[in-house]
Assembly symmetry: C2
Homo-oligomer: 142 residues x 2
């Protein structure tokens, strides 16, 4: 039986985060000692590892909730899990495209900075006048 601290160490998760996952129903309410401290078993280690791994891959918690649900029902179709993963891939690709445009613009901005005073600073100039931009960048909402 593991304390919350050792579970955290085993899975690379902060203690607060584990309690947060419990609060939002992503982790089950574990058993407690007489004194009221949480104690975890192997199933919880697996579940938390799953969650953390999915988070590292950028899945939002709601998607992870669905994936856990699918994982708990081995007879359901794999199709749903597949489509969640595809959705996530789309998100990642969308964000990559946006970042690519941003990088282009930022590089151009910096490249042309001559180093005088701000009156003729290229960085500020570009920010002042969007029409100087070549790419269609929009990071807001990414």
């Amino acid at each position: 039986m593991l304390t919350i601290g050792s579970l955290g160490k085993k899975t690379g998760t902060k203690v607060q985060t584990i309690r947060y996952y419990e609060q939002i129903g992503l982790m089950p309410e574990p058993g407690r000692t007489e004194g009221g401290q949480r104690r975890y078993g192997d199933a919880e280690v697996d579940r938390l590892s799953f969650i953390r791994h999915a988070r590292q891959l950028g899945f939002p918690l709601e998607a992870i909730r669905e994936l856990l649900d699918l994982s708990d029902n081995p007879d359901r179709s794999c199709h749903e899990a597949d489509s969640i993963a595809r959705r996530q891939l789309k998100q990642v690709e969308l964000r990559m495209d946006r970042l690519k445009a941003l990088r282009t613009e930022l590089k151009r901005m910096i490249h042309e900075c001559s180093g005088g005073n701000t009156a003729d600073c290229k960085v500020l100039e570009v920010l002042r006048d969007h029409s100087e931009c070549l790419t269609d960048h929009n990071e807001i909402g990414a």
Copy 2:
């Protein structure tokens, strides 16, 4: 003189967002009508456009605050604006690297999904066992 709604339309900003920027001191307190409604002039259009454009390039509001400050003082060195932009570029490149690793892993996951039931779903399997991963992906904190 523009109402807050027309300023929003002109700059592609939601009304609430403009008020939020005012609240955190990024936009100045504008003049008001007798009835208490905000009215804006050209200077505010420029300032808000600057903010929005910087946001589109992913600059955090605190960086934008500094950039606006520099923009307001034309005799200060361009160097600071330049280094803020360079910092932003670093961030963008870091995030791109992470996303690249994520994409690789997600693609591999989906590619190998055979389409049966979840008992032998590759997506879930990969999430369960990190050791199946080839790349060092970590999107958390990105």
